[in-house]
């Protein structure tokens, strides 16, 4: 099938080859969708069969069908908790983006700030931040404030680092050019550094999405009366394993939606400020 272009044979055969090429191209494109679906179906089938065959206790591992049934019957409950988690994660992420971006900007533009804070930032980066969660409860109580603060704390760092790196790692020749045409520092930032930094900054935002969900779930584990983290912990005390899986599934979907949203915004921004 590799060479449909060598036009041998009567026109009808050539036309057929052309049609076949289109079909093959469609299949090639569809692979990216079809293959993951097949993987999913196969895994679920083995899981379902295994659980039924070996009569695994639903407390240890519920069958996919049981999880699906749980998802449907508890849908309202799941959505209520999901709403809490989503709104707090969204607020946390937005604040983390704001703080991370401003911090990265300061890091890139103020040598004084950079030199005086960088070792501490590395220190905090190397500390398992989950270990600090109880401190936030001591300081801010068991309300949304401590969950948000903790989420921001855990999510802002990759955004800060990527912003600083993106703004700093601009080809020196562009900076010289910018100076030569009498651009101010602010103009150089706005017209040169920031557009060049956007892909790196968005990479940081994407890590921030993941981190903010880790932050919010850990926060809900230890403080909350609502949210998917709370639901998971609560369900575990009742041995409602199917509910745990259903909550995790919902969590995964929300996380993907957040990620997709950032990816779409990135696409739109890079349509304007990309290098193509």
């Amino acid at each position: 099938m590799k060479a449909g272009s060598d036009a041998i044979g009567p026109p009808a055969v050539r036309g057929l080859r052309y049609d076949l090429q289109i079909v093959m191209a469609l299949i090639r494109h569809a692979r990216v969708v079809i293959l993951p679906i097949i993987t999913t179906v196969v895994i679920l089938a083995i899981w379902e069969a295994g659980v039924r065959l070996f009569q695994v206790s639903p407390v240890v591992l519920p069958a996919p069908s049981a999880i699906a049934a749980n998802l449907v019957s508890n849908f309202g409950l799941l959505m209520y908790h999901a709403g809490q988690t989503t709104s707090e994660a969204a607020i946390g992420l937005c604040l983390a983006i704001g703080i991370g971006f401003c911090g990265g900007f300061a890091l890139a533009y103020s040598p004084m700030f950079r030199e005086s804070t960088y070792p501490h930032m590395v220190f905090f980066q190397l500390t398992p931040k989950v270990a600090l969660a109880p401190l936030f409860i001591m300081w801010l109580g068991v309300g949304a404030e401590s969950r948000l603060a903790f989420t921001i704390f855990i999510a802002f760092f990759p955004i800060l680092v990527s912003t600083a790196a993106g703004l700093t790692n601009v080809d020196e020749s562009y900076i010289r050019f910018s100076k030569a045409i009498t651009a101010s520092t602010w103009q150089t930032f706005l017209h040169i550094r920031l557009p060049f930094a956007l892909p790196t900054i968005f990479a940081g935002f994407k890590i921030g999405v993941t981190m903010s969900f880790i932050g919010i779930i850990v926060g809900e584990f230890i403080t909350s009366q609502a949210g998917l983290g709370y639901l998971i912990l609560f369900a575990s005390t009742r041995a409602a394993t199917a509910t745990i899986f259903a909550a995790i599934l919902v969590l995964g979907v929300i996380g993907m939606l957040f990620y997709a949203m950032v990816a779409v915004i990135e696409k739109l921004v890079l349509l304007r400020y990309g290098s193509r």
């Binding site: 562009y174 009498t182 017209h191």
Partner: protein, 266 residues
């Protein structure tokens, strides 16, 4: 002020440049002085590392002499000035802007009225044969086309002096000849003082009214040669006996100063 002084656009006076300090200090330029008349096309010719780019950067206000002064229109150059247009070795076009937007970018930065300069930007792009590529982004243009956009961008705000730092050295020889012809045409049309840094003897001889030859570090001017070919100059003058004699003469001057190691000059 005498008549001669008033027609003087650029004056470099006793410029010395030392990089670093202490025992590791590197003297790049040692006492360089010259003046460029208004409307003159002057090339600075020299081997790599002779400090000719440093010199150009000082005229652009991007670098500062250790001692000595650089003046444009009798005013001391301390920071980059609007009287200057500059073209670098790389085109440094903004990849997200079209050719036209790139040409107009300095206007935006200088906060001049964009609408007033758009016709000029189109005229410049048209003059370098890019009329059909105004809405193309740099990634869709060849290396030679990108450098032509950069030249238009250097000229957009109607600067008094156009500085060019080996603008064609990254291009192949055939494209380079074409670019030289194009530069010649656009220069004759917009007639600005031009300071052109190159390590090509033939390029310098073809383009310039005057060639300033610089020696190796620490550099000094070793030769200042007036080129008298009439303009406009067709590319074919490069094949003439006079042209080749001139190039031989310039090469001899360089060899005289360096021994026979001018191999990288061509």
């Amino acid at each position: 002020m005498s008549v001669q002084q008033s027609s003087e656009m650029v004056r470099v006076d006793g410029v010395r440049k030392v990089f670093g300090d202490g025992p590791k200090a590197l003297e790049a330029l040692r006492s360089v002085s010259f003046a460029v008349e208004t409307g003159q096309f002057v090339s600075i010719l020299g081997p790599s590392g002779c400090g000719k780019s440093t010199l150009l950067n000082m005229v652009a206000g991007l670098d500062h002499p250790s001692t000595g002064t650089v003046r444009i229109q009798n005013e001391l150059v301390v920071v980059p000035r609007r009287e200057i247009g500059i073209v670098f070795q790389d085109a440094v076009l903004l990849p997200w802007k079209t050719a036209l937007e790139n040409v107009l970018f300095p206007i935006r930065i200088m906060k001049l009225p964009l609408a007033d300069y758009e016709p000029r930007a189109r005229e410049l792009l048209d003059a370098v044969g890019l009329a059909a590529f105004m809405d193309h982004r740099p990634s869709q243009l060849s290396g030679g086309m990108r450098q032509r956009v950069a030249i238009c961008r250097g000229l957009i705000h109607d600067p008094e002096v156009l500085l060019m730092d080996e603008p064609f050295s990254a291009l192949d020889t055939i494209t380079r000849d074409q670019m030289n012809v194009m530069l010649m045409q656009i220069w004759e049309r917009f007639k600005r003082t031009a300071l052109f840094v190159t390590h090509s003897i033939r390029e310098a001889a073809y383009l310039s009214d005057r060639v300033i030859v610089m020696g190796r570090r620490p550099s000094q001017i070793i030769c200042d040669e007036v080129i008298r070919f009439p303009r406009p100059r067709p590319l074919s003058i490069m094949d003439s006996a006079e042209f080749n004699a001139l190039c031989a003469k310039l090469r001899a001057k360089i060899d005289e100063a360096h021994g026979f190691d001018s191999g990288e000059l061509h």
